[in-house]
Amino acid sequence: MVKAVRLAASRLGRVRKFFKGTYLFAMLVFMYAPIIVLIFFSFTESRTMSSWKGFSLGSYQQLFRDAAIMDALWVTVSIAVLSAVISTIVGTFASIGLYSLKKRPRAVIENITQLPMVNPDLVTGISFMLLFSFMGFRDGYFRMLLAHITFNLPYVIFSVMPKLRQSSDMLYEAALDLGCTPWEALKRVVIPDILPGIVSGFILAFTLSIDDFVISWFAADGVQNLSIYIYAQARMGINTKINALSALLFITVAALLLIVNLKSIREERAAEIQNRKVARKSA
């Protein structure tokens, strides 16, 4: 009797496991189907994805000779790096400054800071367009950069703020107590302590910038980043050179993410072993 129940339970468990596996697999297929299609067509000889015309590495070879794509890539990457660096610096100092502000003005500024996060990208983009054309900024690259810095800033600030809140005010005082000037205390204690927040703010800013289409579409006047280039091409059919480029980018990111993940797992394990050793020694 007991045996039968146990058997039924284990069978149920297996059914459940099978169902779970199937479901997750189906979801992953759904998520990756378009990506597989894109990568698949990067190896075709045809110029667009409309039909498969045999295997070729032609798109990869031609990719680097395509001036328009290389320009767009350069715009995307350089804007991402510049806007992430600038917004991280401005945003970190802004957070430190806001943190020591009185409650009322701080709340006001924090609420305004949330606006670009809440505001639909479309509306933000249009608002930039109106501002820039009023101010007479003609340089599309500069316009895009300003827009990207602006929409990155709230994300940096809201990554750094919680870290500042966690970090004890006493650390700053402790540094002063031990002889640091306020500037040194900031450099040697406060910033290293909130560094994880700064780094995640930077990464977030970089990704948002690289991924942005809507705001760039409205804000930049004629300058194309990759997103805009792709959107413009989509009407006529996207060139397989773009497939090749995005396959390269995607695989790079995938590899990086996996390495970081595996590394952190390994580091955790190493730290655990280290701790155990120390514990044994001191026991």
Partner: protein, 273 residues
């Protein structure tokens, strides 16, 4: 040296690039050549087309959000019940697609759904030939779900893995079976994650404009498409600004509703980041 000084460059930036641009939208919505006008407001509310498109956008966002929840919750739940290291790795796989340009991924669906695409071929193999997939409302819905699904899975997943296992044990101890435990304990406790998931899907879904263009073939215009067309193609800044403001108000209303819901569901919200 006063630390508050550090915030001044940002405050200046904020005034110049966050507040001022918004004022420009308001200005263009209510002023024509420096004079007050209600014309654009009237146009936006009187023309039935705008209202119809707005309604369609809201409906689509609702359907998309619901589908994301129905597909995403089980995914998040299954991930949360797995071994920690496996779940961590798998959740990376669910984030990874976001690293490929979303326009490109959406465009790939165009290829998949097209008349010579793989799905049509499979369907015709089973005898369903000439089923129109692309340029339908269903295609736009699929694009929406596809693009925003990770934003539903992740917040729910983060709340579920942080869930105190002793709550589940307590429920079992008190005589609840697996299904009862799920509906009476696990699901209510995961509400903060569900709500932030809904917020993160519904709001971008209601404002999207490229997805419908790529997968709807221009037949299923959404509110975002309308605004983009007014501003970029027609150069009608006044009407475009009014429509933008309407969209903004709509988004703000939904955020307020979500925040209310979150407060009643519990304070510990799950977020994506």
């Amino acid at each position: 040296m006063k630390r508050t000084l550090f915030s001044y460059p940002y405050i200046l930036w904020m005034a110049l690039f966050i507040l001022a641009p918004m004022l420009f939208i308001v200005y263009h919505a209510f002023f024509e050549n420096g004079r007050w006008t209600m014309e654009y407001i009237k146009a936006a509310f009187e023309d039935a087309v705008y209202f119809k498109v707005l309604l369609r956008s809201i409906m689509l966002a609702f359907e998309g959000t619901l589908l994301c929840l129905l597909l995403g919750y089980p995914t998040a739940y299954m991930l949360s019940t797995m071994k920690k290291s496996t779940a961590a790795l798998l959740s990376v796989f669910f984030i990874l697609p976001m690293w490929m340009n979303f326009l490109l991924r959406t465009y790939a669906w165009q290829v998949l759904l097209g008349s010579s695409g793989i799905i049509s071929r499979i369907l015709s193999f089973f005898g369903f030939s000439d089923v129109l997939l692309l340029h339908t409302e269903g295609a736009v819905l699929l694009g929406t779900v596809y693009n925003f699904l990770p934003f539903m899975i992740l917040p729910i997943y983060t709340v579920l893995i942080k869930l105190d296992k002793s709550h589940i044990e307590a429920a079992n101890d008190l005589g609840a079976d697996g299904i009862t435990t799920f509906f009476k304990v696990v699901f209510p406790l995961s509400m903060p994650g569900v709500i932030s998931g809904i917020t993160m899907v519904f709001i971008p879904a209601i404002t999207t404009f490229a997805i419908s263009r790529l997968l709807g073939g221009g037949k299923y215009r959404l509110y975002g498409d309308l605004i983009e067309q007014k501003i970029v193609s027609d150069g009608d800044l006044g009407l475009g600004s009014v429509l933008s403001l309407i969209l903004l108000v709509l988004v703000l209303i939904s955020i307020v509703i979500m925040q209310k819901a979150e407060k009643t569901a519990g304070s510990e919200g799950g977020t994506l980041w």
